[in-house]
């Protein structure tokens, strides 16, 4: 049964996942080609200095990519379930309703996390070619909230899409927009370090809220 559930979810999101991976790779190639170009024309020490003391970030192109990917994966996975209330088919399958929703959601989250880890890994590897470890660490601390924001976007968009009432969808969207914005607030390098743990914990809590929409759907809210 688990295999069947994962099979269906993969069919829904695979195209988006491959496109997201492609876009991520293109963004990374773009970043490191530009870094190489700049280091050739400005010497490395000056380039590092601009990063450490003048707030120049070589990876700003990455900023909204996790948000877009999280949004796209959530829509690809959950929008087909809402068209014609197809979620009824899913909840009619001979498994527990919460159980199947948890498995679907966990699959989407794991795929998204894997995608983000691949991009973060390649970013770290690419950075290691050009920068010392303290710059890499500061860079990672700066982009981690963006990727965390991508995960939060995925969880919140799932909550919004599966919610059966438009008025609640609107309400959730307003709250979600306010919350997700926090992850992408413009800040200096590494400024989010102190709140990274609380943001991670809140995002973990958000991973479960889709169950509330599933419950409301099953109770026939309309």
């Amino acid at each position: 049964m688990l295999k069947s559930i994962l099979y269906k979810e993969w069919i829904k999101i695979r195209l988006v996942v491959w496109i997201a991976l492609g876009l991520g790779l293109l963004a990374l190639i773009n970043i490191f080609l530009k870094v190489r170009h700049d280091i050739l024309f400005v010497d490395a020490a000056n380039y590092w200095y601009s990063f450490l003391f003048r707030g120049y970030t070589y990876f700003s192109i990455l900023k909204f990519l996790p948000f877009v990917i999280g949004l796209a994966v959530a829509i690809a996975q959950y929008f087909p379930e809402t068209v014609n209330k197809r979620l009824k088919l899913t909840f009619h399958l001979p498994v527990s309703e919460n159980g199947i929703l948890i498995k679907m959601h966990a699959f989407g989250a794991v795929i998204l996390l894997a995608l983000f880890l691949v991009l973060l890994g390649l970013f770290t590897a690419g950075s290691a070619i050009f920068f010392p470890s303290n710059i890499i660490r500061a860079s990672l601390l700066t982009i981690l909230p963006w990727f965390l924001g991508g995960m939060a976007t995925y969880f919140l968009v799932a909550l919004i899409l599966l919610e059966p009432m438009w008025i609640f969808r609107g309400l959730y969207t307003a709250v979600a927009a306010g919350f997700v914005t926090i992850f992408f607030t413009s800040a200096s390098i590494g400024a989010f370090s102190p709140v990274l743990l609380p943001l991670t914990l809140i995002t973990l809590v958000l991973s479960c809220v889709v169950l509330f929409s599933g419950y409301r759907f099953r109770k026939g809210e309309m």
Binding site: S4, I11, P80, K85, P94
Partner: protein, 294 residues
Amino acid sequence: MYAIECKNLTHYYGKKLVYENLSFNVEEGKILGLLGKNGTGKSTTINILNGFLQPFSGECLIYGENTQTLTPETKRRIGFLIEGHIQYSFMNIHQIEKFYSGFYPDWNSAPYWELMSKLKVTPKQRISTMSCGQRSQVALGLILAQNPDLLILDDFSMGLDPGYRRLFIDYMREYAKAEHKTVFVTSHIIQDMERLIDDVMIMDYNKILAQQPVEQFMNTFRQFNITLTSPQQEVDLDGIAVNIEKVKDKIEFYTYSTEDEVKNYLASKGIDYSSFEERKMSLEDAFIGLTRKY
């Protein structure tokens, strides 16, 4: 033994009462057709049966389990056709068969592939690009492969042309009778029901008007047409008729009384008529006779 038992169902949408203290049962092995005009609560009933709506009060049991808390074992025994033959249309016919087969240990793909072989679709064609008729065959094939004990079919005829409707009905009737399946079905096209169902349940706003074997209903519910000798004559048929249509001197009325009972009633009320005729009805005529045209 009942496959479905609904007891004292009451439901509201906001302040609007859908029905109050509605009770009905469906015997195992029977095909029951739920008929009703738009807004009488057919979809509400289907949603309660499938656990997608919690009634204001009362309960429905399927194989003895409350439909709000069906176990996976009981859900495995129920085949569900959503209005409009909704399926996972982002899949093709191979993917969807592979997906569903993982949930049902007794999955029998033979009837599914038999139906699919009649469709002119390519192996990789998505269900979303198929015609409504083709999609109905996919949905039907999946239910047959699931081999459930109870089939709940919500407005199966929606969007189907006459050929596909006939194919669907004939297949379903033969399958249900051969395999002793219970079927709970709704449809807007009542002439289709006549070929399919054993029992009929007719709903009106807030209540059930009739629930009995369709043959018994058709034998006991009658339409009479009379022509009055004087159009001005006051006519009181409330004692026998469930529905009366009067145009000038012509009266068309529907009743559970026999011809003799009607004639005796007319005589007792002093109603003079120049012609008297019992008209043979189809199930659709009887449905309209019972629920009125508007």
